[in-house]
Amino acid sequence: MNFYGIKAIYLFEMARTWRTIMQSIASPVLSTSLYFIVFGSAIGSRMASIEGVSYGAFIVPGLIMLSILTESISNASFGIYMPKFTGTIYEILSAPISAVETVIGYVGAAATKSVIIGAIILITARLFVDFSIEHPLWMIAFLVLTSITFSLFGFIIGIWADSFQKLQIVPLMIVTPLAFLGGSFYSINMLPPFWQTVALFNPVVYLVSGFRWSFYGVADVDVGISLGMTLVFMLICLAAIGWIFRTGYRIKA
């Protein structure tokens, strides 16, 4: 195991995070604050509580998930896309480091940043609404698991993308709609029956539901299923990455 290699990639990626610390933190904090002002205070005050949870508090887990998904994907995809774009990937490819170790370095750093941002949003949210966390350990588990899973997904996008447009298109065209339709701002039980069934095909539903359960003990789908689906998505990403490195897809001629 090349621990020094993993550490080098991890620290390199984290250094990139610290260099852009203001953008990294200021932007999610700002957007979350806006969400709370609009949905939590302005609209939320006129909304009935959902399953005994006030609307302002209800959207906290969903908002954190929304940020985690987009941040994980953008961090991990950018992290591996840049060396491909500038050509510095030659060094990674010529180093005595395995595919697994490379992924641990890049995905580990992207997931770390996501967890930090998740924690910051959680603290920011606390300034706007009052909430408690029923299962803090499960909350952390979901946070970390989701960060890792979507960082893996972002890594795949970064490998696949051969232009900055493609790098943007998946988060913009697929992930944001899925996140918004995944029950971040509502319970899928509020949807008509047909759309409830459709929603079950959206992986984000399981993430948000499980995460919300860790806060308030209420969930759209069983927490076991949430956990299972998250793990399944993670395994799919791992299999895809395994295939990428075996075939050299888009990184090795």
Partner: protein
């Protein structure tokens, strides 16, 4: 670990100016670090595979294993382009090997495959006894690569990037070693500068520092002096020699034949994906090199006397020079006989001059001969 620093002596007095920060800075003469990597010069001889038949060399007893052995290597890209056609090549321990070839001949593909950047289609490669696929960790730890393109992270500092490279190659931190490398490459003053603020020549040195950061014993330099000014090129040649003296095997590709002529112990010529020749430079020059004797005549001749006419003797257009071509390999050059016959015919001369064909001429004739 500091004791393992290979000797590098470079960029003596090169005026490689960072336009941003220190105008007029002249890099000082780099100190020579004592070479402590044991010398691994080949006291033995290994002929490169696939030499021209006529160039076959005897193989003295006690030949050691090659440091890089390539056998049956082919590469066909997804587009169907066959970049390498069954390449067999052996690089000797401790030598400077120059790989020459025209654009698109397969030089960079060959290097990229050995370094793990491109997958081979078929064939086997071992580096310092380790198969580059099965035992990739051990193989790659031995290899440093300076690619042709100046690809660096713009926002990183020089120090951060060499630290990164060392870690990536699985080596524990060794600030003293990295400091020595940077000092010898005249980059120490710039260690905290972002790479984007450095000049082109400095960036190339950063690439070299990165490649040396994990103490490799095989160094690939892909077109190291492309786009480098004359002074820096000389400094780089010096650095390569110093590295070789410290026991590092160096494989360089180049377009500049004078570079190969100046530096290399052995030369390989690649053309259209095939190694068409591997030979000791001196022997190559000797075997393929033709020497010419130019005789500057006292008074011009209108034509050669019939007795002197031969394929190897020509009269220049204005009749003032005789050009005699001879083979450096033959026992008799025929010069003495020629001069005697000139004397017999009463042809006086004021000067004599010999010249030998350059590697470039040899190279061109080789590549042309194949096409």
């Amino acid at each position: 670990m500091a004791g393992l620093v290979p000797a590098i002596h470079v960029f003596k007095g090169s005026k490689d100016v960072d336009p941003g920060t220190s105008p007029g800075m002249t890099t000082k003469s780099a100190s020579i670090i004592s070479a402590s990597i044991p010398h691994r010069f080949p006291s033995c001889y290994h002929p490169g595979m696939k030499p021209l038949d006529s160039l076959e060399m005897p193989r003295p007893a006690g030949a050691s294993d090659p440091i890089i052995a390539v056998s049956g290597l082919t590469k066909t890209y997804a587009s169907g382009f066959q970049a390498l056609k069954k390449v067999d090549l052996e690089i000797r321990r401790g030598e400077i090997f120059a790989l020459l070839g025209p654009n698109g001949a397969g030089k960079t593909t060959l290097i990229s495959i050995i370094c793990g950047i491109v997958n081979p289609s078929t064939g086997r490669i071992s580096a310092d006894g380790h198969d580059i696929v099965r035992d990739f960790r051990a193989a790659r730890t031995k290899i440093g690569l300076v690619p042709q393109e100046l690809t660096t992270d713009a926002f990183e500092s020089v120090w951060a990037t060499v630290t990164f490279s060392r870690g990536l190659f699985g080596k524990p931190p060794n600030p003293a070693y990295l400091e020595k490398i940077l000092k010898d490459l005249s980059l120490w003053e710039k260690r905290d500068s972002k790479i984007m603020t450095l000049s082109g020549g400095m960036k190339r040195r950063v690439m070299i520092a990165k490649a040396l950061s994990h103490e490799p014993n095989i160094l690939f330099l892909d077109e190291p002096t492309a786009g480098v000014d004359v002074e820096l090129r000389r400094d780089m040649w010096n650095m390569v020699r110093r590295l070789r003296e410290s026991g590092v095997t160096i494989i360089l590709t180049t377009h500049y034949i004078e570079e190969a002529e100046e530096m290399a112990d052995r030369i390989g010529v690649i053309s259209k994906g095939e190694i068409i020749l591997v030979e000791d430079k001196a022997i190559l020059m000797q075997k393929l090199g033709k020497k010419q004797l130019t005789v500057h005549l006292q008074s011009p001749l209108s034509s050669l006397p019939p007795e002197l006419q031969s394929d190897s003797l020509h009269l220049s257009g204005d009749g003032s020079e005789l050009v005699y071509t001879f083979d450096t390999q033959s026992e008799e050059t025929g010069i003495a006989g020629l001069l005697r016959r000139l004397n017999e015919h009463g042809i006086d001369f004021k000067d004599l001059q010999t010249s030998e064909s350059s590697l470039e001429e040899i190279f061109v004739s080789l590549v042309r001969g194949r096409s």
